[in-house]
Amino acid sequence: MVEVYGKKATRYGFGEALVELGKENPKIFVLGADTAGSVAINTFQEAFPERFINVGVAEQNLLGMAAGLAVRGWIPFAVTYGVFASGRPWEQIRTTICYSNLNVKIGGSHSGIMVGPDGPTHQALEEISIMRCLPRMTVIVPCDLNETKKATFEAAKISGPVYIRFGREAVPIITKESAPFKIGRAETLKEGTDVAILACGTLVYESLMAAELLAKKGISVGVINIHTVKPIDESAIIKAAKECGAIVTAEEHQVLGGFGSAVAEVLVKNNPVPVEMIGIQDTFGESGSPSELMSHFHLKDVDIANAAEKVIKRKR
């Protein structure tokens, strides 16, 4: 059985971490864009009103003002829905923040397909791609509440732009508070020899479930949580390829340019092995309940398990 320590949305991990950070570090400044409550930064606003600004529905200015605060030495966290935090002000992030190497942290909430009924306009499915292609950007996709909290703390410690992706839906907590977390280092959750499932975000849980399904069939599966998509843990990926000879990547995101692509880039340079990619296959999402959508777009444990069996057959 996959051990689960409760269920809570990752956005609360981000919000809780910000409040703790605010107490420890007087330089933390949070910026919202009319979504403060839903992205869970309202608790920071209540605790530290003098270090919070709601810029209204204006994402370009959200990132621009965050950049200005960073110029002055603040550690700004600019936060809204992932679609609007990444795509809408993408060039501000590229030119003003990354090119200037400013210490701005971007929180992208409501990520993935699980934002559900609001439909494709609000389902952030491309931000991993468009954030990871930016020089100097660190991209973190935590798998649960505890990991989101740790990612937020660690992001505040490093200098430079960081994108943290989290979500609205309650998802199982699968890592312990005491579990190690280091930006850029993958965590092996399960050792295996026949196939390795490399996952980020919400699909780490589904991957662990998939490993159980496969174990029943006598297939030995490794599961690795790659929470930092950039800089990616190359050695963990190479090691998995060498040990298993076949890889499945799993992400609640477009496969084109996303996490799966990032893994594939490492493999083709170092140790090419067959890869199957679980994710959104170059299509827009649609309205529906989170669980319906996860099944509809083939992001569930059974889909990952099927992909694993498929990729094993491609092993040389």
Binding site: E50, N61, G64, G68, V71, R72, G73, W74, Q92, T96
Partner: protein
């Protein structure tokens, strides 16, 4: 303020602009020349800026939102000895700190942030101003924009925020030379009535002749004294100012002069 001295500095800056761009073989003379007095006045009479300590936290901030006119900034920084004059001829060449648009990561003293894509400077300036307010500091922030740049939507997000937050430590300056790449601003996408628009967003607006040092200093002084509102200075200027064959000619927005035309221009500027 010694006006003759300032006029001489402005001449030197204009000469630098022309020689730098000719040497580079590309760049933006029109808007660089139109903004000379506005930038010279800031660095030689208005801003708290110590060239020997350009990262002093007590400094005032200058953000060149219209980043394509960076030759004017590079020349001013050279005159302040933030960089050696010889370095100016490296503009736009490989390995140079003097990128075609200002680059923060080249660690050039005086360049606070990378700019070049239009419409971003005012948000950055508003962010710095907000940070200073939160720190209860009195430093000032100056953002130089173009008039064509006012067509960017992101400008208006920043205008709204700065007005709403009473950022009186922020001063926007528009180098209003009335031309943009494709022609006259009023023909392409009119931004008028600009002053009324900013006033409607709770800004204090001052309109001046952007080549007249007396008017410029008066406007900056007014901006410094205005409480509770950010200030916008609409500076009416002439694109290509100081070089007769460039003045008000849209073609000189983004084209470097030949060696021959450089000599002609330098002769005119010396007079």
């Amino acid at each position: 303020m010694d006006l003759e001295k300032l006029k001489n500095i402005a001449k030197k800056v204009r000469r630098d602009i022309i020689t730098m761009l000719t040497e580079a073989g590309s760049g933006h003379p029109g808007g660089s020349l139109s903004s000379v007095e506005l930038v010279v006045a800031l660095y030689f009479g208005v801003m708290k800026f110590d060239p020997k300590n350009p990262l002093d936290p007590e400094r005032d901030y200058f953000i060149l939102s219209k980043g394509h006119v960076c030759p004017v900034l590079y020349s001013v920084l050279a005159q302040l000895e933030c960089l050696k004059s010889d370095e100016l001829c490296s503009l736009r060449k490989i390995g140079s700190r003097l990128q075609g648009h200002p680059a923060k990561d080249k660690m050039l003293p005086g360049v606070e942030v990378s700019t070049g894509s239009l419409g971003y400077g005012l948000s950055i300036g508003a962010g710095i101003a907000l940070g200073l307010k939160a720190e209860k500091k009195n430093n000032r922030v100056f953002v130089l924009m173009g008039d064509g740049e006012q067509q960017e939507g992101s400008i208006w997000e920043a205008v709204m925020a700065a007005g709403d937050r009473n950022l009186d430590n922020l001063c926007g300056i528009i180098d209003s030379n009335k031309l943009q790449i494709d022609g006259k601003v009023e023909d392409i996408m009119s931004i008028e009535p600009l002053a009324e628009k900013y006033r409607a967003f709770k800004w204090n607006v001052i309109e001046i002749d952007g080549h007249n040092f007396k008017e410029i200093f008066k406007a900056y002084d007014k901006a410094l004294k205005t409480k509770g509102k950010p200030t916008l200075i609409i500076a009416n200027t002439i694109k290509g100012k100081g070089v007769s064959f460039m003045e008000n000619i849209v073609d000189w927005h983004g084209k470097a002069p030949s060696k021959e035309l450089m000599e002609k221009a330098l002769n005119e500027i010396s007079i």
